[in-house]
Subunit: 254 residues, 2 copies
């Protein structure tokens, strides 16, 4: 991070099925996306490039638009990092684009917001092709009721009831700016946007909305859950394979 | 196939990525969908159930609606075969539904038609999540020109120029009843319907339409290709991972 180093920003897509999430887990021997990316960077640059990420993802979670940055002294042209890294990365991780960022750009601290999609296959029959890309819910979901419940979660709240036990965030208050429930053929998509999220927050919201859609909770229960600030009052954690990080938003030119 | 045996019909979905197609390949040691299904049936019934299929699929090709049938003396209720088989099958093969069929039902010979979808991801950036579910074409396709070319293929033609070299069909004449080119976000879907198809026909048509969309052939070239009856005159064979068997149609009650 000395002044003569370049700050390179990467947009990544990955199939998280075979990874234990984004973040390196020192000594665990578990493959992570960050490990794979840093190994490819080491091979390409002969430097130890530490990567900064827009955030963590859980094991089995996918991304269409994860952002990472790193500092390097190498003179590889900014847009050539993507094809060069793709030659070295496994096929379930691709760099979509690469570019040079301002010295003060940080994939996490510069982010203005994130969009997640949680994908549910709602049909009786099981699935082969979507087994790692959706949560299969085989009872009929009531979409209208799920939308009413989602409306109660929009806005600024203490999301302690929707927060993973090992969440390290200082404050449990977050502002949900979008929570849409969209039907598309046999799929139900939950689209979720916020400036930032707590650990497991999208999966806990999705699991709770599914339980509302199955009649186990009512939209009125949402307020009780929020007020309780107690994780055990809300619904279950939706499984990881339905979750996709779609997009990270940055200031223009950021 | 004695008269006291029941004829059970299965609707299957599979992810063909890790298989060498549907059909057993005696002595090859290559895993096929048919092998996996017959192994599960053997485990369940203690009988050697030969399965009859709506058709073959190539290595790497997927299905949302493959149909197979087999004869059995076992008294398992018709709709219980699906969950029972799913306990024994690998997760990339699922039986969606099972039912009892008339004694003369044959998954291939009773079929009235089939629908395939060929899926193309048309964008510059590479793909991780769709690497086994689409053909990635990174130059912009001209969809309108592809539609003009598709219109020339609709109807009854000698499809020798679009037929695999080892195709065993007696006649190269087929009747295409649908060939639609549909845009959906970054994807281009080629939907293809006929009573039956020649070997590699959908992949050869899709490869040719993509070459038309890239400007390498014009819609007028399609007639020349058909008239030539020469495989080398038409376009390339599209790769298998973009092809999905969507549906097999049978007579009502058939």
């Amino acid at each position: 991070m000395t002044e003569d180093m370049r700050n390179i920003r990467l947009l990544l897509e990955y199939d998280g099925t075979n990874y234990h999430g984004w973040q390196s887990q020192a000594g665990s021997g578990m493959p992570t996306i960050q490990d794979s990316l840093e190994a490819a960077l080491r091979q390409l640059t002969n430097e130890d490039c530490k990567t900064y990420s827009s955030g963590r993802t859980d094991a089995g979670v996918h991304a269409y638009g994860h952002v990472a940055n790193f500092f390097t002294s190498r003179s590889i042209p900014a847009d050539a990092w993507a094809p060069a890294l793709n030659h070295l990365l496994p096929p379930d991780i691709r760099v979509l684009t690469s570019g040079e960022a301002p010295a003060n750009f940080h994939a996490r601290y510069s982010a203005l917001g994130k969009t997640y999609q949680y994908r549910i296959l709602n049909r009786r029959a099981p699935t082969a092709l979507d087994r790692n890309r959706a949560w299969h819910v085989n009872s009929q979901l009531n979409i209208e009721i799920m939308r009413l419940a989602a409306a109660r979660l929009i806005g600024r709240h203490d999301f302690s009831a929707f927060r993973g036990a090992r969440c390290g965030a200082k404050s449990p208050v977050r502002t949900l700016t979008r929570l849409d429930v969209i039907e598309r053929e046999n799929f139900v998509e939950i689209w979720c946007e916020a400036e930032s999220f707590l650990q497991y927050m999208v999966r806990n919201i999705s699991g709770t909305l599914v339980e509302v859609g199955l009649g186990r909770f009512s939209p009125d229960d949402i307020e009780r859950m929020l007020e309780s600030r107690d994780r055990t009052e809300a619904g279950r954690t939706a499984p990881p394979q339905g979750l996709f990080l779609m997009k990270v938003v940055y200031p223009e030119g950021g």
